[in-house]
């Protein structure tokens, strides 16, 4: 706690010190117009790169059209201040907000279709949209066509008659906006919404399976980034007073991307430092201005070759400190020292004793002509442990994918707690009560064990992105609640002391456990475990068997598990389904399955099976 307070004071102090220094320099004449102009450029660049970092760093999607949003903000804002018959001190802030909103609207409009794509394709389509925005602006008459707009009020002179006073007001205004935007990106990043966005970067499929509506959060990240870029555009328009569409082309987007990359993707402070250095350095080294861009591009290549994660990577101590500082800053600002702690769980399920919690009716899927699964009838009673076995390629994981909505079934029905869930999205099914683990572990590797679990609480929390930004009472009480619950869960698995360890650096067995832990955090009624013992040694497997038995009672879940380790399957399953060639070939108690000739045939081949049958007879 003391360390935190120290870091808050440090951060606030350095911000204030910097601010007062600039003000003092301006009044004493030590700050030329040229220098103060550079300061404004730095602030605008900070906003642009920090917001781009929301999509590229936090969400992990490369966007190549960020300058397009800046253009929208710049034009809307400039047109508003030119036409509105208001005092500049009033019309300018309104115009910035309008510019931001217009850009956010564009972000949303573009995002809805574009975010169906990923990776390279998303990068290309954002490039396309960015260029289209530019071309459209060049061809409209409101925007002045290719010539652009000129005579936009310059903010450096507009606030007051006295040039020094006006310059100070300009700096105060721009600096304040920048600080506010950076602070809200930080606080948002720490909220459940930020966690949801980062979990998509880490592993989109796992995020969806832990109950994160990934499309919604991609769109949210995209829209927020566009909003801030729009505001930066408005500032830019009133800094230069002349704008045209060429200023916001592909090269501009790339320039910002370069800064984000150099600073470190996912590190907001990295973006800030890189913006400051890369904008001011060339100005200082004006003598070498010819070589500027050559050096700049060489730096980019060398950085990628020798330190590809950028200056700061995704995490760095100073960043954590700054982060915590902002949090405390806001907590103080709003004086919301709520001591309330709201627990995330409410009992959601009726008593299902003696009734099936999960049933499927002739479920099946065909990929083209290949029927990967057909006529699957499964039934899972409350609190039951059921095994799903079968040779490789029998369709076991396909059944899991059908149950969780990763694949849409082409035939049949899935009924969970008496309600059909066919055709729902994975995250909705997770929220309805099915959680799963994966055959090849899918953790959010660069998040800590604790954070991994917290992501899964997402759908059990209610505070909005705005209260996440403000860190108000509701946000804090819910966060405190899930912190307690998440640690409790870790305790069940004896992993309390690993809470702050990155999931990716945990030993293999612990990673498997953490995945089960995360699945339980979404409060499921049915837990699907895909080869939980894979890669475990015999003693670890025995331990796992114990754990599975414990969680069945403690969390009152029905468990369906895929496993090749027959000792585990025979040891804990009450019933077993056997799958081969996409069909259920046998079901029954472990004893029945062990002596079933068809099962033996599937595993050992027919001749051997006949021999075995003869022995049994």
């Amino acid at each position: 706690m003391k360390k935190k307070t120290k870091s808050v004071i440090l951060n606030l102090f350095s911000l204030l010190f910097f601010y007062l220094l600039v003000v003092a320099l301006t009044f004493s004449g030590g700050m030329s117009d040229y220098l103060s102009n550079i300061l404004v450029t730095v602030c605008i660049t900070v906003i642009m790169t920090a917001s781009l970092n929301v999509t590229t760093g936090l969400l992990g999607q490369l966007a190549l059209g960020h300058a397009g949003f800046m253009a929208v903000g710049a034009y809307v804002s400039a047109i508003f201040t030119r036409t509105a018959a208001l005092d500049f001190g009033l019309s300018f802030p309104i115009s910035l907000l309008l510019g931001g909103m217009a850009a956010a609207l564009f972000g949303m409009l573009i995002g809805i279709p574009a975010l169906r794509l990923q990776g390279d394709y998303l990068a290309i389509i954002t490039l396309g949209f960015g260029e289209i925005i530019r071309v459209i602006i060049e061809n409209l008459s409101v925007t002045g066509g290719a010539k652009g707009l000129s005579g936009i009020t310059r903010m450096v002179r507009a606030f007051s008659q006295d040039s020094a006073v006006s310059s100070v007001i300009q700096f105060t205004f721009v600096f304040l906006i920048t600080v506010l935007i950076i602070a809200s990106i930080f606080t948002l990043g720490r909220s459940r919404h930020g966690r949801a966005i980062i979990s998509i970067r880490e592993n989109a499929i796992a995020a969806e399976a832990t109950g994160i509506p990934t499309t919604k959060y991609k769109l949210l990240a995209f829209t927020i980034a566009a909003f801030f870029a729009g505001i930066a555009g408005g500032l830019f328009a009133h800094q230069t007073s002349i704008i045209n569409a060429k200023m916001f082309g592909f090269n501009k987007s790339i320039e910002y991307l370069v800064i984000v990359v150099l600073g470190g993707m996912g590190s907001i402070t990295g973006s800030i430092i890189a913006s400051v250095v890369l904008i001011s350095l060339p100005e200082v080294l004006r003598a070498f201005s010819e070589y500027r861009l050559v050096i700049y591009s060489l730096m980019l290549i060398l950085m990628m070759l020798f330190r590809p994660s950028g200056l700061m990577g995704t995490r760095e101590f100073s960043m954590l400190e700054a982060w915590e500082g902002m949090e405390r800053f806001f907590r103080r600002l709003f004086k919301q020292k709520s001591s309330q702690t709201r627990m995330p769980f409410q009992p959601r399920y009726d008593v299902w004793e003696g009734k099936p919690v999960l049933e499927t009716f002739s479920l099946g899927i065909a990929f083209g002509g290949l029927k990967a699964a057909e006529k699957i009838d499964l039934r899972l009673m409350d609190n039951e442990i059921v095994g799903l076995i079968g040779p490789n390629g029998a369709g076991k994981t396909t059944v899991f994918n059908l149950l969780t909505g990763v694949y849409a079934p082409t035939e049949g029905q899935v009924v969970l707690l008496g309600k059909p869930i066919n055709g729902k999205m994975t995250h909705q099914i997770t929220q309805d009560g099915i959680a799963r683990t994966f055959q090849n572990i899918r953790l959010f590797k660069s998040m800590t064990a604790l954070e991994n679990i917290k992501v899964a609480f997402h759908s059990r929390m209610h505070y909005s992105p705005l209260s996440g930004i403000l860190r108000n009472a509701q946000c804090l009480s819910e966060e405190r609640g899930i912190d307690i619950r998440a640690r409790e869960l870790l305790r069940v698995f004896d992993m309390e002391d690993l809470a702050e360890v990155r999931a990716g650096s945990l030993p293999y067995g612990k990673q498997r456990k953490l995945e089960i832990c995360r699945a339980l955090a979404s409060n499921p009624k049915v837990l699907l475990l895909d080869e939980p013992a894979a890669g475990m040694n015999p003693s670890e497997t025995v331990e796992l068997m114990q754990t599975i038995k414990t969680i069945r009672h403690q969390f009152s879940v029905a468990i369906l598990l895929i496993e090749h380790d027959m000792r585990l399957v025979m040891g804990i399953c009450e019933r077993i389904y056997v799958l081969n060639y996409g069909r259920v070939i046998a079901q029954g108690s472990p004893e029945e399955i062990r002596s079933n000739p068809e099962v033996i045939a599937a595993y050992l081949g027919t001749r051997k099976a006949e021999e075995e049958a003869a022995v049994h007879a």
Binding site: D120, I124, N139, I205, F250, I301, M304
Partner: protein
Amino acid sequence: MNLFLNQLINGLHVGSIYALIALGYTMVYGIVKLINFAHGDILMIGAYTAVVTITSLGFSAPLAMLATVLCCVVFGIVIERVAYKPLRSSPRISSLITAIGVSMLLQNLALLIFGAQSRPFPTLHRIPPIRFQGLQVSFITLLTIAVSLALMAGLTLFVKAGKAGKAMRAVSEDYNTAQLMGINVNTTITLTFAIGCALAGIGSFLYCMAYPAVSPTMGSLPGLKAFISAVLGGIGIIPGAILGGFVMGIAESLTKAYISTQMSDAVVYGILIIVLLVKPTGLLGRASREKV
């Protein structure tokens, strides 16, 4: 009708240049999954080589073309070895950003050496345009289309039939397995870059004959359009790049003729977006899903 046919021929002319450049993008993407942003600037390097060899060194046109191709190939190989090879196993975003860096570096080096002013490309022939029933086709158009088609046919044969082509296909299918089969992956990747850059070199020469102005940033726009062509046809697929190039060229010249010159870029990007939304893997691409 004549206007339409003339525009169609113009479209084929531009389209075949786009296709030649798009082949470089698509081959590189197919084999190392990298969008080589510097490929457009290879075009610019080719153009400067041609101008310098013809005007300063007095080379004849065929000799200058050979020099252009050689220079492009050398640049391509050096870029691959120095900038891309060390990053082969790092995240794709790193190599993509490096490619952007290489592109910036080439443009700014050219700016430093040759200056911002654009240089005229010398006229190389005096053959009059061919007239036929009101149609008018210039010699350059015919030459461009013929050379491009021949090169595309040659490349398709090379990739389909030859030993090196088979190695290229194997590496693009599965890098690691190809290694286990005794294929020298490094040589194969270098060869891919070399072929891509050779095509860009020829494309650059043909491009300059049609648009005779050489400047440091001249590669950006045709590069971008060629890249879009590659995506349009399905990036990584060789026939896709050819198809994409022609579709792009024709769409562009028809928009210029019938809608407006300024909007032609918007139409180009519009096509890209529609294709990506309807069929993200491009016209000839096949979808693949991540295994869960």
